[in-house]
Structure formats: structure tokens, C-alpha cells
């Protein structure tokens, strides 16, 4: 039973790590959007 607990908690850990990866992906994509605004607005945001 302890092994089952480790597996299910481990699954949740893996999911939250993947979600952190999604967060990083959204972050990496974002500067692209910032840049486009800077270009269009001609300077500081």
C-alpha cells in the first residue's frame, strides 16, 4: 500500500512539474509579444 501511495503522490508531483514547464513555455513565448508592442509603439512599454 505504501508503494501505491508513492506512485499516486509521484504522479501528482510529475503533473505539477509539467505544469511548471507549461508556465515556463508561456513565459518564453511572451517576450515575443512584448517586442512586437515595442516595435509598434516605437519605444518603451
Amino acid at each position: 500500500m505504501i508503494m501505491d501511495d508513492i506512485i499516486y503522490i509521484g504522479l501528482a508531483v510529475i503533473f505539477f512539474v509539467l505544469t511548471w514547464g507549461l508556465l515556463k513555455m508561456c513565459d518564453v513565448l511572451q517576450p515575443e509579444a512584448d517586442k512586437s508592442i515595442e516595435e509598434k509603439s516605437g519605444g518603451k512599454v
Binding site: I7, A12, V13, T19, W20, L23, Q30
Partner: protein, 618 residues
């Protein structure tokens, strides 16, 4: 009138045509034909009363919540202000320190993961802990996983029966606490998202910890306290007693041939959990049959108030949004779009259930509305609530991500079940979950603005923000994740032995049940179509994954979208700006929501409730 003379009032029946004119006339009773869309005037008035009361409450509560999220003074400050400051001091939170979207998203993820661990541990160790008068053993690992995810993610899907599985401590410390925290999490994410729209040329969205604390302390706790007391006054139980065995008035024989003379009545602290389960759009019942149980929902008044509580906060949050962006017309426009879809859905469901079942008509079962019978399809419904109140509840609970029930959705007519499924398939954006419903709808608003911009060839804008490539990437992720999760997992269940083992009904109805299982979980709804056996390792695991994806893989891109919007310079409204508060935009928004929902799910719905309907009438 003579004393004691019995007076029967025949209900006024309204006729709205037959949804397949001339197709069937199976009930040989003269005027009534199955398939007739009939509603009683009484039922229509009850539905209208519900809608009016909900609308009237949206503004005062919405204005109050706006003050909470803008950290303005309220009448509760003298009572709760010091407690709020103590919480910040203990948790070492600086309430004036704002965070960007990433820090807020990380805070949400870490906090919710810790919540998952606590709920999991309490279930697994409940046999060693106090407040367990029935001596329940540990919950199985797979069920503990599913339930912990379910309550942390505001889904409240229940593969277990509350009164036969959970100790009072688990119900209170694990489940009820999560009911508050998960609801507050959704509200906090919404507050952060709204600030992203309300602000310009900024970096920060606010502080997740502060929004969550204030949501719990000033909104959810006071409302739940008052509501729980009202429920107790009406007969909802709130105790820590052992279960009570009472003698039956008339003995009976069980399926094994044994004479039964006593019945065990489950007890427990139900009222406190039911109040927040409704207000926080959680939905997880204290008892297995949820709000069809007389100890959860004993009177017509509790039924009305519990239905009202499902949509109260989500509806009011529309006005909160308008206040926070300093243009209440924007909030009312979104409210109108949601309310129009909801109203059509309630009356559709009422009409389909009121039209009865031709299979029963063939057996000469009377389905006519009379003073002695509610008429229509009453299978799976409480006689004391009837069809109109079952229709309001089923629509509200699937529109919001609530999931509580006062009737069994599995027993609805195929088209009645279709309405419930569609409401969830729209992405829980028709009021939706507390917080999550409105931020989901705001994503659709952005898509609607973008598509309208494409049609007229102008750069799309929403409330002074240009909608560009990044926002559309995030919106696309948000719209696609849910249907992919639902359809892939449904397909998986239908082709694997473990998945097929849970299906009890053959044909399209069994398909509908499995589609509903994953639709409900991936949308964090939590209601069950019933009829499928899902407390198995396969469904507990796949369902848990669906709930995790449905909650957190949507919340993170939502915050990222907000983090992008908040940085944009204010674009003043010009002649080419699409007004987003007009009736035209409201109908455009409704069209976008319906078209996206239909594109995602119409083929699956055709295999389930739609084909079942045709099988029923022919």
C-alpha cells in the same frame, strides 16, 4: 364552500408545439401527445422568479466583491480586519507587495499541491484519527488520489459514497476546507486576470495570497455561515453523532430474502459543507445522492436557496468585473450573454422533460400534468421538487462548475441529458465556476473581439488593449486543452478493457455516460450522469489527470494572458473600435461560444444523446 371540501387546482398548461410534429402519437389520451413541448404556468413562473432574484442580487454582491478586491473599506472590516492582519503576519505575507503573473501562478500551484497532499493524507490515515464514530478504514490509494485532486481543483467529483466512506474529520478538515480554498483560488485567479485587463503599462497583477485570503475571509466565510444557519433552520443536519438505527413502520425483505426491520440513518456535519459546496461551486455532497437527500435539501425553500447559491457568486462577479474595469456596461454585457444562454437552456431542459418519454407512453403510463401528478418524465426526480426545479438545478449545476444534483441526470430524456452535457461542453463559461467561469468567458470575449477584428480588417482591441499574436496563442491553448482531454480520455475508456468494464448500459446511453464522466471531470464540474461504475483504479487515475489538466493547464495560460495584457499601452478607443457592451456584441459573443462548443463536441454528442433520442422516438 363546505368545510373540509377538497379543492384541486388543475395546473395551467402552456403548449409550445411538438418537437417532431406528426412523428408520434403514442399516448392515446386525446389532447396530450408525447413530444409536445408543454410547461405548466406554475413551472414557468418558478423559473422566471429564480432568474429575477439571481439578477437582482448580482449588483449588490458584485459591488461588495469589487471593494474586497480593490482593498477598499467594507462593513466587515471592523469585524474581520484584525483577523486578516494576523493571518498575513503569521504567514509572513506583505499585503502591499504585488507580484507578476509568474510569481502568482507559482504561488497558486504550490498552494494547491500542498492542499492535495493534505487531503490525500487525511483520507489514507482516517482510521487512526478522531471523529470517526463509524470506524471507517483508510480510503483506497486510487480513490484518495482522485478525491484529493477533485477537491483541490474545485471539481468535487465523487467516486465514493460520503456516508459509507469518509469520517467526519475527513469530511470537515479535508473536504470542507478545500471547498473554501479551491473556490478562493478560482476567485483569486479571476481578480488577478481582471487587473491585467484594468491596468495598462504595468508589470504586476496583484498578490495571489491577499486575494485568496480576502476571498475566503470576506466573501465565502460570511456567506457560508449565514447560509448554513438557514439550512439548519430548515432541517439540514449538523451533528457529530453516530448513525442512528430506527425501526421501520413496516418491515420489508431485502434482495437476499432477509427480513429487514430497521433502517440506519446517516448523521454528520452536513449543513456546514452544503453551504460552501453550493456557494463555492464545488458541488460535492455530504451524502451519496447529494441534494436529492432530505438531510441535505429538506424543503422547497432550501431547494430554491441552494439553486440560487450555485450561481450567486459567479453571476455577481460579472458586475465585479465591470466595477474593476471602471465600466459596468462591460460586466452587464457578459452577464447578459451568460443569462441568455442559461435561460434558453433551462426552458429547453424543462420542455424536453415535460414532454415525457414515448416508451413509457407506449406502456400507457400517464404523463399528463394534473393536480395530482407533475406529468412528463419524472424518472430519477424528486416528487417534492418536480420537473421545473429539477430543470433549473440541472442547468445551473452544469452551467456553473458546481456538479451538485437534486435529480439523477442519467434518468433525464436523451435531449434533457444533451442540455446538461452541452452546458459543460461550452467550457463552463455560462457563469461557470466561481472565478474560473468568468475568466473562461473573458477568454471567449478576446476570441470574439479578435474574430470580429479579422472580419472588418482592423487590429482587435479590448478595453484599450491590443489583441495580438501572443494573446491568441494563449486563448487557443485555453480553448483546445479541454476538448482534447475529454475526447482522448473518452476514446481511451471505450477501447480498453478497464474502461469498458465500467459501462453498464449498452449503446449510445453507455457512450453518453462515459463522455459525461470525462466532460465533467475535465471541466471541473463534478456532476455524474451516473450509471457507470467509476470507482476503479482506471477511472480514478484517468479522471484525476483530467481534473488536474482542466484546472491548472487552464489557470496558468490565463494568468500568462493577463500578464501580457497588463504590460500593453492604453490604446484610446477610436471610431474603428468595436464596442463590447452592445446587444450586437452580446449576440456575437454567444455565437462564438456556441460555434466553438459545437465544433469541438457535436460529433461526440451525435453518437450519444442525439442518436439515443432518435432510437427512443422510433
Amino acid at each position: 364552500m363546505k368545510k373540509n371540501q377538497e379543492v384541486r387546482y388543475e395546473p395551467v398548461v402552456l403548449y409550445f408545439g411538438n418537437y417532431f410534429p406528426g412523428t408520434f402519437d403514442l399516448l392515446d389520451r386525446g389532447t396530450f401527445k408525447t413530444g409536445d413541448i408543454r410547461m405548466t404556468l406554475n413551472g414557468v413562473l418558478q423559473i422566471m422568479f429564480y432568474i429575477v432574484v439571481l439578477t437582482l442580487l448580482a449588483k449588490p454582491l458584485g459591488a461588495f466583491m469589487a471593494r474586497i478586491y480593490q482593498r477598499e473599506k467594507t462593513f466587515l472590516d471592523p469585524l474581520l480586519g484584525s483577523l486578516e492582519r494576523i493571518i498575513y503576519r503569521i504567514a509572513r505575507i506583505n499585503p502591499d507587495e504585488e507580484m507578476d503573473w509568474k510569481a502568482n501562478a507559482l504561488a497558486m500551484l504550490i498552494f494547491n499541491f500542498l492542499g492535495f497532499l493534505v487531503v490525500y493524507a487525511l483520507q489514507r490515515m482516517q482510521q487512526f484519527l478522531p471523529m470517526n464514530p463509524q470506524g471507517f478504514g483508510a480510503v483506497s490509494p486510487d480513490s484518495s488520489f482522485n478525491t484529493a485532486v477533485s477537491f483541490a481543483s474545485n471539481t468535487n467529483w465523487q467516486g465514493y459514497g460520503g456516508e459509507t466512506t469518509m469520517s467526519y474529520l475527513t469530511q470537515m478538515l479535508a473536504l470542507t476546507v478545500q471547498n473554501f480554498i479551491s473556490a478562493a483560488t478560482g476567485m483569486a485567479v479571476l481578480a488577478l486576470f481582471i487587473r491585467g485587463i484594468a491596468r495598462h503599462s504595468a508589470k504586476t497583477l496583484g498578490n495571489f495570497w491577499v486575494d485568496m485570503t480576502r476571498s475566503t475571509l470576506y466573501i465565502l466565510l460570511p456567506l457560508s455561515l449565514v447560509f448554513a444557519l438557514i439550512l439548519v433552520s430548515q432541517g439540514v443536519i449538523q451533528n457529530n453523532s453516530s448513525y442512528v438505527s430506527v425501526p421501520l413502520l413496516q418491515s420489508t425483505v431485502d434482495t437476499g430474502g432477509v427480513t429487514v426491520t430497521n433502517q440506519v440513518l446517516a448523521m454528520g456535519p452536513a449543513a456546514s459543507q452544503i453551504a460552501i459546496k453550493q456557494l463555492g461551486t464545488n458541488g460535492g455532497g455530504f451524502f451519496n445522492v447529494n441534494s436529492a437527500h432530505p438531510y441535505e435539501n429538506p424543503t422547497p425553500l432550501t431547494d430554491f436557496l441552494e439553486m440560487l447559491a450555485i450561481l450567486l457568486i459567479p453571476a455577481a462577479l460579472c458586475y465585479t468585473f465591470g466595477k474593476m474595469v471602471k465600466d459596468t456596461r462591460q460586466g452587464w454585457a457578459i452577464f447578459a450573454a451568460m443569462m441568455l444562454i442559461l435561460t434558453v437552456a433551462i426552458f429547453s431542459l424543462y420542455g424536453f422533460e415535460g414532454s415525457g418519454n414515448p416508451k413509457l407512453a407506449a406502456l400507457h403510463v400517464d404523463q399528463q400534468s394534473t393536480s395530482m401528478s407533475p406529468g412528463g418524465n419524472m424518472e430519477g426526480k424528486e416528487v417534492r421538487f418536480g420537473i421545473p426545479n429539477s430543470a433549473i438545478w440541472a442547468t445551473a449545476t452544469t452551467a456553473a462548475s458546481n456538479g451538485s444534483v437534486n435529480a439523477m441526470h442519467d434518468s433525464y430524456t436523451p435531449l434533457g441529458g444533451f442540455v446538461a452535457l452541452v452546458m459543460i461542453h461550452l467550457g463552463e463559461v455560462v457563469f461557470g465556476g466561481v472565478g474560473s467561469g468568468l475568466y473562461g468567458m473573458l477568454v471567449f470575449v478576446i476570441v470574439a473581439v479578435f474574430v470580429a477584428g479579422l472580419l472588418v480588417g482592423r487590429t482587435p482591441e479590448y478595453l484599450g488593449h491590443k489583441i495580438e499574436a501572443y494573446e491568441m496563442k494563449m486563448a487557443s491553448i485555453l480553448i483546445l486543452i479541454m476538448p482534447i482531454t475529454v475526447l482522448v480520455l473518452t476514446a481511451l475508456a471505450l477501447v480498453t478493457t478497464a474502461g469498458k468494464a465500467g459501462i453498464f448500459n449498452p449503446g449510445p446511453h453507455g457512450f453518453s455516460e462515459i463522455l459525461y464522466v470525462f466532460t465533467s471531470q475535465a471541466n471541473n464540474n463534478g456532476s455524474a450522469f451516473a450509471g457507470a461504475s467509476v470507482n476503479t483504479p482506471f477511472y480514478n487515475l484517468t479522471g484525476g489527470v483530467a481534473m488536474l489538466i482542466g484546472r491548472y493547464w487552464l489557470a496558468v495560460p490565463t494568468l500568462a494572458l493577463s500578464g501580457s495584457l497588463v504590460q500593453k499601452k492604453l490604446v484610446p478607443a477610436g471610431e474603428g473600435t468595436l464596442p463590447t457592451h452592445t446587444p450586437l456584441f452580446i449576440f456575437w459573443l454567444i455565437a462564438v461560444v456556441l460555434i466553438v462548443g459545437a465544433l469541438n463536441f457535436l460529433p461526440a454528442l451525435a453518437l450519444g444523446p442525439i442518436v439515443e433520442h432518435f432510437m427512443m422516438i422510433h
